[in-house]
Symmetry: C2
């Protein structure tokens, strides 16, 4: 015996979400059943609005409410800096640090070492388009410090080797609040090599 | 900086689901953004249908497509047996075992030892209503073997102490595939006390 069709359908649809299995989907469905109808209505509307009220900024390729997005049209940003990130959420993380005043480009992914041929999903063409603006002096590569991130950074550095733009990447070292005795050898190695003078 | 309003709203709504925090909700939202619009439409419709196409069976209090539900109106079931479970999903689990042919009553929860006064959410009145049917000979209490389940079973047993209906509960012992050396002392104690003769 299965659940009534409407309940089973909701469980099936919810279990397609990443990391959600049938048991978790069941839990979601029973939770929603206990909530007032207008709360489910609000959730459904919010999901539908995802496609209806969001677009991609043609310039920086971020997921945004408008095209071009508010960051690309913000005249107070430092147009000499362009920071390349893999995903829109990486841009939000950098913005929340409050330490960066330049503009962004969202690459829409990174290059996987095992599927290095397929770069169609990446917004490299739009990045080259952005780099045609003469005011850009520095390109900051801000990818995750993993194999894919490294591969992507190296690929872009090679691609732009003939340009006059300075290319940098985020510093490697100990994160805030780390314990030396729990840090992995790679992190310690970076922390040692990139040590900075304090006096 | 936060996400565009439509994205932030979807993340907020999704993070109300049980066990879902802001990071998981973000993951769900980005996953849905990458899916075709009709897939989100299907999910939204399935969620709305939860309230629109489901009801509670007035007799057994199960979440069902019709009232009375298909189980309560199924003439092939053994009407001498009534099995009380806490939730509709417990009924589905028992049904999937294929070993029970009687009817059910869903109590809509169990009695918590620390909130023993508040029994308003339980369908005890409807259970007493069901028990007025003279054909019922046995009431099977099928709650989880935990403190709440025990409390509820004892409460119902006391409430029905003057009735002529036989009251039973699910057997305690080793689950299928268990290892004796990993079983907890309580389970082993039940397994010993309720040992069965094989010869």
């Amino acid at each position: 015996m299965k659940y009534p069709p409407a309940l089973q359908m909701a469980i099936d649809r919810l279990s397609r979400l990443p990391t959600v299995g049938p048991k978790t989907a069941e839990r979601f469905a029973f939770y929603l059943l206990r909530r007032p109808a207008n709360e489910i209505q609000d959730l459904a509307t919010a999901l539908l609005d995802l496609h209806q009220n969001l677009t991609h900024c043609q310039r920086c390729c971020a997921i945004a409410a408008a095209n071009p997005c508010s960051l690309c049209t913000d005249a107070t940003r430092n147009t000499a800096l362009l920071c390349v990130v893999a995903e829109t959420k990486d841009m939000i993380a950098l913005e929340n640090s409050g330490q960066y005043q330049g503009r962004y480009h969202i690459l829409n992914g990174t290059i996987s070492a095992i599927q290095a041929d397929n770069l169609d999903h990446l917004t490299i063409k739009q990045l080259l388009q952005q780099l045609r603006r003469p005011e850009i002096k520095e390109l900051i590569l801000a990818f995750n410090p993993d194999v894919e991130g490294e591969t992507t950074a190296l690929y872009l550095a090679k691609l732009l080797s003939t340009s006059n733009i300075s290319i940098t990447r985020l510093a490697r070292g100990l994160p805030a609040g780390a314990s030396l005795d729990y840090a992995d050898p790679m992190t310690l190695s970076h922390a040692l090599h990139n040590r900075s003078r304090i006096k």
